[in-house]
Symmetry: C2
Subunit: 343 residues, 2 copies
DNA sequence: GCCCTCGATGTAAGCGCTTACATAGATCGT
DNA sequence: ACGATCTATGTAAGCGCTTACATCGAGGGC
């Protein structure tokens, strides 16, 4: 008997009145259709469609005590690695009627804490977060809400968090191993800032570990740490090659850095890989198109996103989620690595 | 006097009880702090913090009839152009306490309609949508809700929608003009699918218009339409160069296609730009790093995202939003264009 | 000293929806 | 033919918050 107020979106009670049923039936038609007689169901559906009504999410969330929202917290969308992960998560969640909230913390730990709190206030039912190097209060806040979460891009064996990712240390150990096997002994590293970034710190550690096994080390002047950008790759390799002895190979923290290194080395008249071997990490789309194509580690970012989403969905559906085995990045040997000193 | 139930997040009433005030005061502390005496305000704030309480968004949205959510509907995050736009929007909205909902329709119009409806059900207060080639019911649904929206990446002078973008037709007219001025007469085009993509259709139209002004046209065998990917750029340029007469210049619908064209032309032993001029569009990060660096149109995608967000925020705050002048992409003449026949 | 004003706080009525429980037919076994 | 059982639907009590309105004191003008 309620009067639908013109100019405002219709409510369930308006639809109920128009279809001559109760609001309970309207609700059931949309949430438990099998509990409603087909004839009535069709009538309600038709009425709702005619009136342009759909359940109002806030009201529904309140009554149901479920928001059907999950959050993704990433450093930035400007890196195609994270963009791909988010895209895959969004697709996986959308299939189950779950909406994705996105937030970029720009590698700022305080921002990340803030973002997570905002998401919790929004009632997210689960959370995916890139990396585990976050302030303790971030994880404390999540735990206090008892919601499932997952950390992506990290997979330390002894992490206290559920992780979807790979072992960064081991991956870079493998890269270093590859260069050592080729015979390199003077190896440079161009890498993202390690401070507050567990993944990057683990990578550097992996390189150091592999070198140490051969009694080698990274010389300070052969270690450049800075923002991941093509330009930083360029300037780093230029600086490094001015030292004596110059490195015969350089391991880069991601493909952007490696691309910069490659371009600059070529611009300096060096031949890659004859004069200098270069490795990347991530295998972004452009890498295999370069000349020579970049030797790098391939990471399946869509797979990471999908697995993270699947894990969280399993948690939400109450099931015991399957264990999360680490992903294994694969070394793609392309054209930028070769034995040293062939020049 | 309410009993805080253990194991569940605290509610405003729990905080009110603990701080010995009413729920109204608690609410005011968080929404209109200036209306509460400082002493009480501090006490409530401290209590809330101690209990880990923050207003529950669904309840608040319901009571306030405002969700503080806006939606962004884009084709895909796999294109750094859209990722950058979303990143900028997210940042701009976050500053005002507004949360961004994201959805990718993968260039599928039905998916876009579905996504928009889902967002409306979620109570988004505003919507940003890439492109205007959408089903009429998409815009009808938005209008029915009377919420502000904005179309990005399009800016036809006579569009019925508020737009943040540039005139695609004019932009490609400019590119073609550039090549014509250099003396090219046989010009190929490698472009994304035009069906259901107003922006791309306008681009092709711009090229055709400029050629027509000189009594020229794109030969059918010099027009390749397909998914934007480096590989499609490669195969297209290869096919095109096998025709007779072969084009002396090729205009690409975006930088990815242009990169493919450039790489393949070089792989075929051609010298760019001596044997073939190539243009891109978007000016993605890698483009200026190529060898030779790519001549392309620069689009400021962050700016588009920011303007779209600012416009929507202005609408939400009730102000008459400023007019939306078109952005003007600028042609960046780098190393892939030159007069023809210098070989 | 009294009444009025005004600012600070409390009371309580929703916001739109879901769902436990109540109810009313229908079905069925005996 | 009667109660037990079931199914389809309705009734109404919240979910957690905001806010119009009521209330209560403290100041202030006369």
């Amino acid at each position: 008997m309620s009067e639908p107020k013109p100019g405002r979106p219709p409510r369930a009670v308006d639809v109920a009145a128009a279809a001559e049923v109760s609001t309970a039936t309207v609700s059931r038609v949309f949430n438990n259709p099998e509990k409603v007689a087909p004839a009535i169901r069709e009538r309600v559906l038709a009425t709702a469609k005619a009136m342009g009504w759909m359940p109002h999410a806030a009201g529904s969330a309140l009554a149901r005590r479920r928001s059907s929202i999950v959050g993704a917290v990433i450093p930035t969308l400007d890196n195609e690695v994270f963009a791909a992960q988010v895209g895959a998560m969004q697709a996986a969640f959308a299939e189950r009627g779950i909406t994705l909230l996105l937030s970029c913390f720009n590698y700022d730990q305080d921002q990340a804490v803030h973002d997570v709190q905002a998401m919790l206030a929004r009632g997210v039912e689960a959370l995916a977060i890139v990396g585990e190097a976050h302030r303790p209060e971030l994880f404390a806040a999540i735990r206090a809400r008892h919601i499932p979460y997952v950390v992506t891009y990290s997979h330390r064996p002894d992490s206290p968090h559920p992780c979807v990712g790979f072992d960064n240390r081991q991956a870079f150990h493998g890269i270093a191993r590859h260069l050592l096997d080729l015979g390199h002994e003077t190896i440079g590293v161009i890498i993202q800032p390690t401070a507050g970034n567990d993944r990057v710190a683990a990578r550097l550690d992996g390189v150091r570990g592999a070198l140490a096994e051969c009694g080698l080390a990274v010389r300070p002047q052969h270690l450049c740490e800075g923002e991941w950008s093509i330009d930083f790759g360029r300037q780093s390799v230029r600086a490094m090659l001015a030292t004596d002895p110059a490195p015969t190979a350089v391991i880069c923290g991601n493909d952007y850095l490696a691309i910069g290194a490659l371009l600059e080395a070529r611009a300096m008249g060096l031949s890659v890989p004859r004069d200098l071997s270069i490795t990347g990490f991530d295998d972004i789309a452009i890498s295999r198109q370069l000349d020579p194509p970049l030797t790098t580690m391939h990471i399946d970012n869509h797979e990471i996103g999908r697995r993270a989403a699947d894990y969280l969905l399993a948690c939400l559906e109450g099931g015991q989620p399957a264990a999360l085995p680490p992903l294994v990045p694969t070394l793609i040997r392309r054209g930028t690595t070769a034995p040293p000193g062939l020049g």
